[in-house]
Symmetry: C2
Subunit: 248 residues, 2 copies
DNA sequence: GGTTGTATTTGATCGAAATCAAATCAGCCC
DNA sequence: GGGCTGATTTGATTTCGATCAAATACAACC
């Protein structure tokens, strides 16, 4: 169900993929023009911090390209990722002045930013947008809750398998799959970032990746390029209900 | 920041505590009358299931009294709580037909229910309410993310201490504390439910409760009645930043 | 090609929490 | 009071993932 939004009608919009999720598909063109008036693009390099927890953030944004993440850090350095933003995901909290978590560019990232104050004005005057934001926030909440099950109850192997299936589900290259049963994609995260996502150490991530490879569940070309020869075999490993899902 | 809503202005409304969070404080009285027209009360006993994951739910609701929880269960029985609803919390997802998680009455619960379809109509016609729901959902998302840090990175002892401080923060009896440094409240959950909340086993919960008692961080009267003689000592144990917080 | 620095893998060991098992406590009903 | 039931505590042992440590792969740069 976090994939719900993928099923929503998309606006054909060549210059700004943002609108696909950030903006209600029912918006009138003049509303879209107002959005255009307050938007600008911004690029961040891999590893760069986009905002620190507690900072003022004078924009909200949508991810155009690349991956950004939200993380929380404890004083002693323990770190947990609490949000992973892929292209078309929304960043920022309308009506909140400050950011609650560190926002980092996990890969090179291109953001489409909307200036915060005028964006909020637009929301308050455009119920469509506010309703769309509610939908998106509910989707995020669903994703967070699925993530909680993973963190609280899954084994290391199940965590890795779940992560791979989550990334695969969102990966663009999905669109042209030659073989319906096979799956090929690139990992946008280092082993360390995966560990932060999964509540593991990077050593455990590496070991479990090796184990899945040894058992033929995945194949690796380089460190980041993954082939899943049999999707259902991967799904078996996630611990989730085998039903539904993106892959038939 | 999950406590943000507590700081919001509350409507004086003797018969229905719901409004305090569920409905925008800026609503006009005729909008409140419309809400009254579609609401009804419903009681559930401890242990009773309010809805199963996947069920249609023909109402949304606000918790008036007692505690309800959202849980996810894996086929082999592993269980993770993903939502804990205390009085004034909102239950249900506007514009979603079905429930995503099992909803259970953790104690005896009184709900103030709003019939779903008319409630949705009201939302779409009343931007205030839709914006209030967005605020509430953002609060829930913040809470979920704090919870993710707990599940992914905290030790068993830190989890217990964090849980106690979360419950204490929300407990009604807080309102009349004789001694600002001391804290007295009742646990609304069994050890098993705590385990489901924290991603632990009930034995570990029990052991860590005993350890905190042994170390003088908490005192126990019966199994459920907790006294925290020194709030800052408890906060030390949570692993969280010592700053801010409800207790000064 | 060699060097440097980072990312990743692999190995050995340790420890926190899970698991398995039993005892104790607290209501509750008669 | 006494027995019954479910909740909780406590104990013994195991196990999975963390930690500590070292080797290997890889890309960028000279």
């Amino acid at each position: 169900m976090p994939s719900r939004s993928l099923a929503m009608p998309e606006l054909a919009c060549a210059d700004c993929p943002i609108r696909h999720r950030a903006v209600c598909a029912r918006c009138e063109s003049d509303e879209l023009e107002q959005l255009d008036a307050i938007k600008y693009y911004r690029r961040f390099e891999a590893g760069q911090t986009i905002a620190w927890a507690g900072d003022q953030m004078d924009f909200v944004a949508s991810v155009v390209e690349g991956v950004a993440s939200l993380t929380q850090t404890m004083e002693d350095g323990r770190r947990q990722m609490v949000g992973l933003l892929l292209p078309s995901d929304f960043l920022g909290r309308p009506n909140r002045e400050s950011v609650a978590y560190d926002v980092t560019a996990t890969t090179d990232v291109m953001l489409c930013c909307f200036r915060r104050v005028p964006f909020q004005t637009l929301i308050s005057e455009t119920p469509h947008i506010s309703q769309r934001l509610l939908e998106m926030t509910l989707d995020e909440l669903d994703a967070a809750r699925e993530w909680m099950l993973l963190l609280g109850r899954k084994t290391a192997r199940e965590k890795i398998a779940s992560f791979l299936s989550i990334i695969a589900r969102r990966d663009a290259s999905l669109k042209n799959r030659p073989n319906a049963n096979e799956l090929v994609f690139d990992l946008p995260l280092t082993r360390e970032a995966m560990a932060d996502y999964l509540g593991l150490t990077l050593e455990t991530v590496s070991r479990q990746m090796s184990a899945l490879k040894r058992d033929g569940v995945i194949e690796l070309k380089g460190k980041r390029h993954i082939t899943v020869p049999d999707v259902s075999a991967l799904m078996e490993e996630t611990g989730d209900d085998a039903d539904g899902g993106m892959f038939g």
